[in-house]
């Protein structure tokens, strides 16, 4: 195909050719390629531009840590920026574009930033843009914002679907390399429920790139056989293309599966990504190790690559990363690559080994230069040579590719997600996971071990240990003899390379150099957390997977301490970026949140209700009629009709709790601040619940429907809160009381029938006598309906101030009873009314809701001080209620508010100022808690909490809406605007 694709080898399917494009140019690759391997195969080394200096960048890795080759994939709503070319599987028709360049990747004007690099060092954000101050918002911030970021997200809607899913297992194995496969096999054979996740499309990890054999089988074939065996086990699930991104409480792991990111046109019958929550009794991290870059001049030039990546492209994808290669290594991994390169026919010019005393028995053709360093990589947009420093002398060697290996950092991120800090190990020359993790173990390279044989054994042993803890019988098993493996054991780290002249990058993505790290120390930002923020090292999308440990090493060197003393920054989820789509799953659009519907929802809809979401409930807001052009017209009509005739309102959303037991009366007596102990059977009572601090918690009516059975209503908003509160009281505060609770909110369809003709209407369907004598105000009883066809609960209570009832019937009967009431009330002018009219009616009567019960008021503030029992020995809130601050005379108190000119208006939330006072917060006297237009008063009216309000009735004030700049002269008054004697209520 191209000169960089080897004639044979690799795991790609050479019979399946795929077309793709990069920056509009058409290329071909094979099935099994990554975008990165296909680009390399086609000789496309330049893959992106760096963030700050717009330096040309090539492909550095073959996996998740890739900092350079970030591209935008797809088009339209499927546009996905910042995709790592190393993780993107190639598919036919893939469209990729480079980022952060203009006008083109090859010629990028932004690269002029490099000329300004002396001024753009660490902390330049904090040293510049300081003056003149007024330019910050106008010039600097827009400029910085424009320069920020890499790829651009699309504004088009994502056409695909996402899914969230749960899984449970005895053992979760993260990583399907040698260690993970061995562990999964051992656990699977023992019968444990196993989930094995791996971020790549093919399990095998490093085995897929290795030329060693296991029991005489090539390493990739061994991996394939292991996966085939796992596939036969019904107790084992292997999830590929799945990245475990976080470890959370209760041993729950988050993982994202890229279900359809490897095809051009995803199927609508499957999600493109699936987010897994995996609940594991135990987990084993077999995540391997990340090779550490070396920090030398020009180490970012296209053509410089991690040695393990070069080996992956060679052995897994059949792609040579250059024609004449150099290897710069601190350990034996460089020799494994050099051996494989030469075996594949690639010329290796030199192996530059930092160890003067290396005793590796190299038998290849390449020249080995011990005790030497690559001080600089030479070239422009592609590597042309390297300068080798040895004992103060330099030598230039012509190469077009350089592999580097600075040792290995165990991938321990997940092990540190729950607060544990990595621990530096001099023996391993690396940070290891914190010890004694509960429910999580590490094995293989993730635990600092090296070599296929050791990792296989370690995987089996770790699994056996875990299985033993879980009670499974598992025997350690040997998985075969390993041959041809070059084991790269730990070697002393090399943080600083001598003889460097060019920019030596530590963080490739954020363009942080070794000089920047030094500058941070010089300027007092040597603490690892400060250095991170000052230099931005590790703050890019790769989160410093390649750079953090080198930065720590350089900080340690600059400060003359051990890396152990420097420590690491905090590890947090996510290990790699997770899309918002995956996090959202199906919970968007229609399924964004549940809809809770009243049993009368269909009835209300048939009467043309406009619904409003209150919490999750859909409440009837108003019922427009033909000819009404505004909601106010409808609401005014509905409110007038209740006062003149009769209205029907769905109040099923009120919280309803049934309390059973011999001690419920005593229980309620302690829960409410007013007396309930002697509430007779067949009676309802309005109650106020206080919090322990004396503030009002909730209100509602409670009816005694049997000697040991009560029916409580709560506000809609606090139904669950009151239930929780009562459960706490019953279970924790007074377990000696015989009280049982059951939420019956959904059991009953409850209808308010309100208005002077309500009794006439109700009597048509209620079999019992409900005359004023037989069923007086606050009566509450079970009644027979429709000649005994049905039984319901009838309460003579009123939120409107009118003669009114609330009728509760089993929810399934709600609609038919609603219909029956409408039919029965037709001759009396019955109309449905919604929550807006309900609000008007209650404000006219000065009744409170949670607009007034705002968490800072006590009963006296709302004119309900007389309800507080002084006779009861105790109730919740009693003692704190007598605090000095809660009895102060200047507390806000409930008042009514009306405009002096009825043609003017004001809004809820507006503040109250004394007449003539300046509009300042210092002069604030209180605020309007509720307001509406009252068709009966003929103007806007409101309720307000105003300092000393009860004694200021009649005072002229100014209603101030600071947000809208509105001022409305008004007057404070009694909060009851209508029928203050309550005559209509008792009709």
């Amino acid at each position: 195909m191209t000169s960089y694709r080897l004639a044979s080898g690799g795991l790609v399917d050479r019979q399946s050719s795929l077309r793709f494009s990069f920056d509009g140019r058409s290329f071909a690759g094979y099935s099994g390629d990554s975008l990165a391997s296909a680009l390399l195969a086609n000789g496309q080394r330049l893959a992106g531009r760096s963030f700050k200096y717009h330096r040309p960048r090539g492909i550095l890795t073959a996996g998740a840590a890739e900092p350079n080759a970030l591209v935008t994939v797809g088009r339209g709503g499927r546009t996905e920026p910042n995709t790592r070319a190393t993780m993107q599987e190639l598919y036919d028709g893939l469209e990729a574009r480079s980022q952060n360049r203009w006008p083109s990747l090859g010629f990028d004007i932004g690269s002029l930033n490099g000329l300004l690099s002396p001024f753009l060092g660490a902390g330049f954000y904090y040293k510049t843009f300081m003056w003149p101050a007024h330019l910050w918002e106008r010039l600097y911030e827009p400029f910085v914002r424009r320069a920020a970021g890499l790829g651009r997200a699309t504004y088009e809607a994502d056409p695909d679907t996402y899914e969230k899913c749960w899984a449970h297992c005895d053992l979760l194995v993260v990583g399907a390399g040698a260690t993970g496969l061995a562990a999964a096999l051992a656990a699977g054979r023992a019968g444990a429920r196993v989930v094995l996740v791996d971020e790549h499309p093919i399990p095998g990890g490093g085995l897929l790139s290795d030329s060693a054999t296991i029991d005489g089988i090539a390493a990739p074939d061994f991996a394939r056989q292991a996966v085939a065996e796992l596939a036969t086990m019904p107790n084992v699930e292997v999830l590929v293309r799945t990245t475990a991104f976080g470890w959370y409480d209760d041993n729950v792991f988050g993982a994202v599966e890229r279900v359809q990111k490897n095809i051009r046109q995803p199927s609508a019958s499957a999600p493109v990504e699936r987010l897994w929550r995996i609940v594991a009794r135990r987990a084993l991290l077999a995540t391997g190790a990340e090779e550490r870059p070396l920090v030398f001049g020009g180490n970012d030039r296209p053509g410089v690559m991690m040695a393990s990546a070069a080996r992956a492209y060679l052995n897994r994808y059949g792609v040579a990363f250059g024609r004449t290669a150099g290897v710069f290594t601190t350990n034996d991994a460089g020799y494994a690559l050099a051996r494989d390169l030469e075996a594949a026919g690639v010329d290796v010019a030199a192996v530059v080994d930092t160890r003067a005393d290396t005793n590796f028995a190299w038998t290849g053709k390449a020249r080995v230069i011990p005790g030497a360093f690559v001080s600089d990589a030479l070239g422009g947009k592609s590597l042309s040579g390297i300068r080798v420093w040895k004992d103060g002398a330099t030598e230039t060697i012509a190469v077009d590719a350089l592999a580097m290996s600075g040792g290995f950092n165990p991938v321990i991120h997940l092990a540190c997600h729950r607060g544990g800090k990595p621990v530096w190990s001099d023996e391993h020359a690396a940070f290891l996971a914190p010890p004694r993790l509960k429910g999580l173990a590490l094995a293989g390279a993730a635990a600092g071990r090296a070599g296929i044989a050791v990792c296989l054994e370690d995987g089996v042993a770790a699994a056996a240990s875990i299985l033993s803890e879980l009670g499974f019988a598992a025997r350690p098993a040997k998985l075969g003899e390993v041959a041809g493996d070059i084991v790269a054991g730990p070697t002393p780290p090399v943080w600083r390379v001598p003889g460097v002249t060019g920019k030596a990058f530590v963080d490739f993505q954020n363009d942080v150099t070794s000089k920047d790290i030094g500058l941070a120390v010089q300027e007092g930002y040597g603490h690892v957390e400060l250095a991170k923020r000052y230099t931005t090292n590790g703050m890019a999308t790769d989160q410093g997977k390649l750079s953090n440990v080198n930065a720590i090493g350089l900080l340690a060197e600059a400060r003359g301490v051990s890396p152990a003393e420097i420590g690491t920054t905090t590890f947090r989820p996510f290990y790699t970026p997770v899309s918002f789509g995956a996090l959202t799953g199906a919970a968007h659009g229609h399924h964004f949140q549940p809809a809770r519907k009243s049993p009368l929802h269909g009835w209300a809809a048939r009467h043309g209700a406009r619904f409003v979401e209150t919490g999750l409930w859909y409440r009837s807001s108003w019922f427009p009629r033909a000819g009404e052009t505004t909601w106010r017209e409808s609401v005014d009509r509905e409110a007038r009709n209740v006062r003149q005739n009769v209205g029907l309102c769905d109040v099923s959303m009120l919280g309803k709790i049934e309390l059973c037991g011999a001690d419920v009366a005593e229980f309620l007596n302690r829960v409410y601040c007013n007396a309930f102990a002697k509430l007779p059977v067949g009676k309802a009572r309005y109650g106020l619940m206080l919090r322990e601090d004396g503030m009002i918690f909730d209100d509602g009516t409670t009816s005694r429907i049997g000697e040991s059975r009560f029916y409580m209503t709560t506000t809609t908003a606090l139904a669950a809160g009151v239930m929780n509160h009562l459960e706490f009281c019953a279970q924790a505060l007074w377990p000696e009381l015989d009280v049982q609770l059951s939420s019956v909110t959904d059991e009953w369809a409850q209808m308010a029938v309100a208005g002077p003709k309500s009794r006439l209407v109700l009597q048509k369907i209620v079999d019992d006598d409900i005359s004023n004598d037989a069923f007086p105000f606050l009566a509450a009883r079970e009644v027979s309906l429709f000649g005994g066809q049905l039984h319901g609960r009838l309460f003579r209570i009123s939120f409107s101030g009118e003669l009114a009832y609330e009728l509760a019937v089993p929810a399934g009967y709600g609609e038919s009873v609603g219909d029956a009431l409408m039919e029965a009330g037709q001759e009396h002018g019955i109309q449905p009314y919604g929550v807006e009219a309900l609000t008007v009616l209650r404000i006219e009567k000065g009744h409170i809701t949670h607009s007034e019960i705002n968490g800072t008021v006590v009963p006296a503030d709302l004119g309900l001080g007389r309800m507080v029992s002084s006779a009861k020995p105790d109730f919740i809130g009693k003692h704190m209620l007598s605090r000095e601050g809660l009895t102060a005379t200047d507390r806000p108190q409930l008042v009514g508010v009306e405009p002096l000119d009825p043609r003017t208006s004001f809004r809820s939330g507006a503040h109250i100022l004394a007449k003539g006072a300046a509009a300042t917060l210092e002069n604030d006297q209180g605020y309007v808690t509720s307001s509406c237009f009252s068709p009966h008063v003929g103007s806007t009216i409101g309720l307000a909490l105003v300092k000393r309000g009860a004694e200021r009735h009649g005072e002229e004030i100014l209603v101030w809406n600071g947000l809208r700049g509105e001022f409305t002269p008004g007057r404070l008054r009694d909060p009851v605007f209508l029928d203050p004697e309550g005559e209509r209520l008792h009709a």
Binding site: T161, C165, A167, R193, E237, W617, D746, G812, Y813
Partner: protein, 189 residues
Amino acid sequence: MPDMRASTRPALAGKKPLNGDGVSMRALPEGYVVHLLGGWDAELSPLLNELSAERRSVRRAAPGQWFLVGDEPLSRAEFHALEQRLAPHASCVDQSHGRVRILVSGPRVERALSAFTGADLALAVFPVGTSTTSLFGHIAAHVTRVSDTAFELMLLRGFAESLWEYFAGTWRVDSLPPAWPAKRSGAER
């Protein structure tokens, strides 16, 4: 108004059973659901066993609490008889209209439900007769395994339609991998 007829409307009226690849869902008849509140009365256990022996379905709801469920409505007389039978060891609260039951079944039912709930529904750890309460998406439901391949979900009436639509609109059983780590031949929890 004796000529008026009171009729009941099921919460999931009009929702036709859904059938997918290896999983199906249908609304169960709105018969009866009685919330039994018994606390720690030791004498209640034999009574519950009696009820089970009478082929009434008893579901554990919470410590000291159970749901008694059935497909046929209970008359007032039957309900009062039940109250009398359990008194004074337990109180009965009628939830026949407050709770809606849905049957989800099929050979891939566990896998299908795993997209909605964090409860471990594997047969080995959640055998027939086991109940728990869990969130299904954003909606809480009481789930009972009623056979090797079927679960009963019981939830608040007000959320029934929403949960049904959530299931119907979002599950993609066809896309689920066929295997699932379900067997456990080693130690049980």
